[in-house]
């Protein structure tokens, strides 16, 4: 079994405490980072091939490098803890069981980008993670890891914890920033990118919880070690959230190079009840669906891209042979219709209409031409909107119908629900 980084303390009842974190080597990366030049920290993260683990898989060190050089404006570090991608729950585990890894990672990242104020944007429904992270931040202040002149380094850094209030779109980084500024969570047109003009109009880096929790390990053990855990283009292990019809659902830590088959059969006990696998959504609901024949793919960003899907948030949703794919599409379409922020016309209109059509199909009132209409409407809107939300909806709309077309056709022909 591959080395574990994130989950090594998860089994300990007090893994969320400062005492346990320090007893297992916590906050030693910070000492090391304080002896490094900020640019050297960014360079180390670049070399580690760490890529964003929230969904976009963008190289983290490269992102940090986008902060304008020599800018004297305040810079902010914002943690995207607005976990909301259906099928994903790994950031909840990290926040509840290893919050100090997030805090230590934040301080190191802040030093790299010259930020003295960080925000953790936690989805409003996550009350327990919010309580645990709040307690950990208080502990960190008490021990001198946050605030003025951290551990005599001369570096100041404060953390504000901000609760969201229920809106999937706030997981999109510019929507998140709008929300943090006290507005509805409407995404913003890029450029300017947040690194140039972000929160409150200042240079801002937005990173996912797991991404930042990787940073202390990279600093402690070196970029080469981290890069070596993964593939040529993506370093590290990561947390997979596996749910649905597997025998043992849960969070699994494994290399980014693991295959989907191994994840399901070696780590999660295979399909529950001895039934057959039908389909898998490999990276949260926005990732195009894979059939049972396509699970030998590796779970790194490029591996899944090569088979026309995406790793996204690494939320793996497993469906056995009893599942009606048209019903699954209706459920997913309802979600996108509900969560479209309404700013861009193609998204607002298409998500609503496609939900109506998918429901009509399931209710046995569908027409044969509905299938091509959904695909046509979906594809026309792709790439025309301010943010990636709609493109994320197009993935399931098109792939569910194209890969399970016979099942949809039987439904519109017979006029009966599956």
């Amino acid at each position: 079994m591959a080395e574990t980084i994130f989950t090594r303390n998860f089994h300990l009842a007090d893994s969320h405490t400062l005492e346990r974190y320090r007893a297992t080597g916590g906050y030693t990366a910070l000492d090391k980072a304080f002896r490094m030049e900020p640019a050297a920290i960014t360079e180390e993260v670049k070399k580690s091939n760490l890529r964003g683990l929230g969904g976009a898989a963008f190289p983290t060190g490269v992102k940090w490098g986008f902060i304008p050089k020599g800018s004297t404006a305040p810079k902010y570090l914002v943690i995207n803890a607005d976990e909301g991608e259906p099928g994903t729950f790994k950031d909840r585990y990290l926040m509840e069981r290893d919050p100090h890894a997030l805090i230590e990672g934040m301080i190191i990242a802040a030093r790299a980008i010259d930020s003295h104020l960080g925000f953790i944007y936690i989805r409003g429904e996550y009350v327990q993670p919010w309580r645990v992270v709040s307690a950990a931040v208080r502990e960190a202040y008490g021990a001198g890891y946050l605030g003025k002149n951290i551990k005599g380094s001369g570096f100041d850094f404060d953390i504000v914890i901000h609760r969201g209030a229920g809106a999937y779109i706030c997981g999109e980084e510019t929507g998140l920033l709008s929300s943090l500024e006290g507005k509805k969570g409407w995404p913003k047109i890029k450029p300017p990118f947040p690194a140039v003009k972000g929160a409150f109009g200042h240079p801002t880096i937005v990173n996912n919880v797991e991404t930042i929790a990787s940073v202390p390990h990279i600093i402690n053990r070196g970029a080469e070690w981290f890069a070596g855990l993964g593939t040529r283009t993506q370093g590290g292990t990561r947390l997979y959230s596996v749910s649905g019809h597997v025998a043992k659902p849960g969070v699994v830590e494994a290399s980014v190079s693991i295959t989907l088959r191994s994840l399901i059969y070696d780590h999660c006990g295979g399909i529950a009840g001895g039934r057959k696998l039908k389909a898998v959504v490999p990276g949260g609901s926005s990732a195009p669906i894979l059939t049972a024949d396509e699970i030998d793919v590796t779970m790194d960003a490029d591996g899944l891209k090569n088979v026309g899907s995406m790793i996204g948030s690494a939320g793996v949703i497993v469906m056995d042979e009893t599942v009606s794919i048209p019903e699954a599409l209706m459920v997913v379409a309802r979600f996108y219709a509900h969560e479209s922020c309404g700013q861009c016309t193609p998204c607002r209109e298409s998500t609503g209409w496609i939900y109506k059509m998918s429901r009509r199909i399931v209710e046995g009132k569908g027409r044969k031409e509905d299938l091509d209409t959904i695909i046509d409407v979906a594809k026309r809107g792709a790439g025309t909107t301010i943010c990636a939300f709609y493109d994320g909806a197009v993935g399931p709309y098109v792939s569910y119908i194209e890969k399970f077309r016979e099942e949809f056709e039987a439904l519109v022909r017979s006029g009966t629900s599956a």
Binding site: P74, Y76, E83, G84, E85, P86, G87, T88, F89, D91, R92, L117, R123, G124, E125, Y126, V127, Q128, V160, H162, R163, G164, A165, G166, A167, Y168, S179, L180, E181, G182, K183, K184, G185, A199, F200, H202, S241, V242, S243, G244, H245, P249, G250, V251, V281, S285, G315, I317, M319, V323, E327, A328, V331, V332, R334, F335, H338, E339, C341
Partner: protein
């Protein structure tokens, strides 16, 4: 509980509003946290609450209305003493969310979106709460409850007074 028709924070709550506003480079950043505070204090975010909160931020009531109505967690009308929100997204759907919703509707005698006549429970369906490993699941006030069966739902309901 204070009155959502004539909202007014206590001195202690006003101090908390001020503390929150000072945490942000622009005090408007504290709008969501203060709306949470207001909902805790007044039960829901009425038009009067929106107007009152707007005054604390030098914002127009229209701006606060736009924000409050954008987010699902701010209630626009009174809710029961307990709010039960069942996830009906993909994994919970696969694992039987429909049965759980139907069971709750029968037990409570209300439809989704309604409150029991005694004001005890409001029943809602929600999108993914990101606890898919224990699907089907629901949120009961602040708490996540997973691996639901009709029996387990009954036991949870008994605990809600």
């Amino acid at each position: 509980m204070a009155d959502a028709a004539r909202p007014e924070f206590t001195a202690e709550q006003l101090a908390e509003v001020q503390r929150l506003q000072l945490l942000y480079p622009d005090k408007r950043g504290a709008l969501l946290p203060v709306l949470h505070l207001a909902q805790d204090a007044f039960g829901y975010v009425s038009l009067e609450v929106e107007e009152y909160v707007a005054g604390l931020f030098d914002l127009s009531p229209a701006h606060v209305h736009e924000v409050a109505t954008f987010y699902t967690m701010f209630f626009k009308a009174p809710v029961g003493r307990h709010v039960v929100s069942v996830c009906h997204n993909l994994t919970c759907h696969l694992m039987g969310a429909k049965t759980i919703v139907e069971h709750l509707q029968r037990r409570l005698g209300v439809d989704v979106g309604e409150t029991t006549p005694d004001g005890r429970v409001t029943l809602l369906t929600v999108e993914c709460l990101c606890a898919c490993e224990v699907a089907p699941m629901m949120q009961v006030d602040d708490r996540y409850e997973g691996l639901l069966t009709p029996d387990k739902v009954d036991r949870i309901l008994e605990g809600l007074r």
